[in-house]
Symmetry: C2
Subunit: 493 residues, 2 copies
């Protein structure tokens, strides 16, 4: 058996085991009985340790080095596989085993403390854990290594090649125009308020209907309920999503479109990449571009609702029979500077991310103390969004990311927003009749283009490389700002 | 770390991994999308191979031998753990790795062939696979070893210590009285026939209601739908069941009681045995005694329905409003010699098992050719049950067990029936007011006794030992025959 074949076999087994970890997680969120939680944590630890041992094994290191020595002769896909496996091998072997175990223990404790702190809206409960986490994450950055800034090492974990300087440049382009647009459009679109509840099964049926219309393949995936919507992959032909249903919210629509966008990306990966580490979205930013493409660019646009609003009215007459299409679309785009990131509209969303980026960067470089976070948080929300943070629960404690030990994750949301708009520009060049395409509900046409241009490639191309191939340009804030200006001018006009 | 502690750690990891295998299976039955089947088989193979390597590792052999050398000083539970681990280590190491892999491939193919053969009702499609399976299973018996008869080695896989002679003795006691009772009672109780369908959600709610009444703990388990009902364990606090719902059948009731009985056994195991190989029912026969105790002894009895029939009438007035309690109980006990084992009543059921036992024994000892099976099957059904087998699908192809490679499994169903009646006798001595207990719906009283006497012990005592402790006697056909005679005389009286 030659080296590459051996390596692929090794890779395929790791992929199987990672899908098992994903199954444990999926089941925990959608089905596991309450009292099984502790036992499940033990199963997770057992399997994780077993996977980790295989991921850092010297045998894998030797196979990789041997294959790399002859990589010039390989196909694009095989070279990409080596790139992805090398990256993950280096990340895994750079962190000492005791560090990984300690970090895992700490994040478990931190999540419990965070939950309690948020419930009691008391940052002091979370603070000592967060201090230890920041110290460990700074240590992690040193282990991983970086060229210019320690935060670079963390950004790169979620978005290969991303740097602090690059993120600063991105927000430099975004900040002033966004603040100006928020001022211009805030309060000019009337939000929707519902007095009649949506039936739970009605919500679920409508979500399923939208997913089918988007092209989500239910023979290769399924939809379940969970407290927090997510998308996960348990196999090449097994891409699953969850959604949540509240009585008086439209989250069931935008949750389905968002997770559906993630899932279409995964379902669209070429079968030739199945059972390898390339059978995955290439980065969080590109993944987020796909979810936001469907949720926002398509799903909050007038043409899409020209097709689907009559069906929504029919499904929920008590809520929509007397509402006009234009008022509906204005309502789902209302601009309201607020405290909560996940409730933010398209204009204010990236300001929430900017605040988190600035804080993370300073925490990691050591220029900001954890103890000052609540004050800094309040100051920045006042400055960027003009809102007063009244409680830690609705302030610095609103996101779980830090309790997970994830620093450097937030900027990928903004990358997703920018990339979605840039990809949309490329799509419009490909299909100048795009408005009609959407108004007729021909979502297959959109999806097929996305599959061909983006999804099918899995992790073969680096994020920037992929974007260059699809749009002819590196990531830029310009298409996003143009998209917002055009859209909100029309809505508020 | 001393040997026993090391061994327990090793055991706990194996338990975790087996629960992962169970999760793969559970998910496959209740949730997995259709096209994921092939990928799932690969995940199963990857994890199975990994588990197998740990189960046959010399390290485990050394730990076991060291612990056994000092077992006199150990507690009852620790000695039982050594017994269970030794048994499984011996079973695993006696089979060569290539044999296990080949057997696994063959059973996969055999299941596909069996499905097709049954669909087309053509034994010839299954025959060549079954011939290879019988050859391999005979080889398996040689690898495992036996004292008197090669079939002993297979029986012992499912019921520790069971022998061919013991099963022959059991059926020797049963056969004549059963045949006589079938003659006496067949056709004397009018079966229920439904013209109105039961609503699916109504069936599910009623099944849940019965499970709650039995004491199934939904914080430590759940109920889902699957084509074939089953019970599985994914952790000490995670015991799950499935049920199926057809429009015009009462299977939803008896499926829930049957699987609920299995699950109560598992949920009742003492927490001190959690995360060890003792945290499991001790044998298939004892497990089946618990499911049949609830399904038949309790669930097809008049007292139980004195309590629950009014609720059933209320839940399904179209079907039951005009039916009397006595006619209902007679209907669910109608004696009808038939072709299908899983549809059989309590009187004829064990004759179906007897036929399979006789065939398996002869196949394994080499006195019967696979090619003769359809003819032998027809002859035996005519002889023991007086019915004509018209098609292979309703004959020799009705059970999946052989396609799974399971020979020696069927007799455990009869052991379950006998043990259930014997345990019921013991319960009646403990609670002479048993009829009132059931008629008042005080199922907790019954369950608590079962937990104390049987469930809590997990696999600590051998099946025969456990039965002796609970009932004061070894397994016998007498209580079962007495139970049937009394019950059916009363119903037909």
């Amino acid at each position: 058996m030659n080296t590459l074949v051996q390596l692929k076999k090794y890779s395929a087994e790791l992929v199987d085991l990672h899908h098992l970890l994903a199954l444990l997680q999926w089941d925990q969120e959608v089905r596991m009985p309450r009292r099984a939680a502790e036992g499940r944590a033990g199963q997770f630890a057992t399997l994780s340790a077993l996977v980790h041992r295989r991921e850092v094994s010297p045998e894998l290191g030797v196979l990789l080095a041997e294959a790399e020595a002859r990589k010039e002769a390989l196909s694009v896909e095989d070279r990409a596989l080596l790139r992805v496996m090398r990256r993950s091998y280096n990340q895994n072997t750079k962190l000492p085993e005791e560090f990984v175990a300690e970090f895992s223990r700490l994040t478990s404790q931190a999540q419990m403390a965070w939950l309690e702190a948020r419930e009691q809206s008391d940052f002091a409960i979370f603070q000592p854990l967060l201090e230890r986490l920041v110290a460990m994450v700074r240590q992690q950055a040193e282990y991983l290594g970086y060229a210019a800034h320690p935060y670079d090492a963390l950004l790169d974990l979620y978005e290969e090649g991303l740097t602090t300087a690059r993120v600063e440049g991105m927000f430099g382009e975004l900040q002033a125009p966004l603040v100006a647009m928020v001022k211009k459009f805030a309060g000019r679109l009337t939000p929707l308020v519902f007095t009649e509840p949506f039936s739970l099964s009605g919500q679920e049926h409508f979500a399923e209907h939208l997913l089918v219309a988007m092209g989500f393949d239910f023979s290769r995936g399924c939809l379940a309920r969970s407290p927090h919507p997510f998308t996960t992959t348990l196999g090449h032909h097994d891409r699953r999503i969850t959604n949540r249903y509240a009585p008086k919210s439209l989250d069931f629509i935008f949750g389905a479109l968002h997770e559906g966008g993630h899932a279409l990306y995964e379902q669209g990966i070429d079968e030739g990449l199945a059972h390898s580490q390339l059978d995955d979205g290439v980065s969080l930013g590109i993944h987020e571009s796909q979810s936001r493409f469907w949720e926002n660019v398509v799903g909050r646009g007038l043409p899409f609702w020209q097709r689907f609003f009559p069906e929504l009215q029919q499904a929920f007459p008590a809520q929509f029979a007397h509402l006009g299409l234009d008022d509906f679309v204005r309502g789902i785009n209302a601009v309201i500077p607020g405290l909560i990131r996940v409730d933010a509209d398209e204009l204010t969303y990236n300001l929430h991310v900017l605040i988190r980026f600035e804080i993370e960067k300073e925490l990691i470089e050591g220029s900001l103390e954890v103890a000052s976070l609540p004050r800094v948080w309040r100051d920045k929300y006042r400055q960027y969004l003009g809102v007063e943070v009244e409680s830690d629960a609705d302030g610095v404690l609103q996101d779980i990311h830090w309790a997970h030990g994830s620093f450097g994750y937030f900027p990928t949301y903004t990358i997703g927003n920018l990339a979605a708009a840039q990809i949309w520009e490329a799509y419009k060049r490909h299909d100048p009749g795009f408005s009609r395409t959407l108004a007729e509900g021909d979502l297959a046409k959109v999806r097929e283009w996305l599959v061909r241009e983006i999804h099918s490639h899995g992790s073969v191309y680096l994020p920037e490389e992929l974007l260059m191939r699809v749009t002819g340009a590196p990531l830029s804030a310009r298409p996003f700002l143009a998209y917002l200006e055009e859209k909100f001018s029309a809505l508020a006009g």
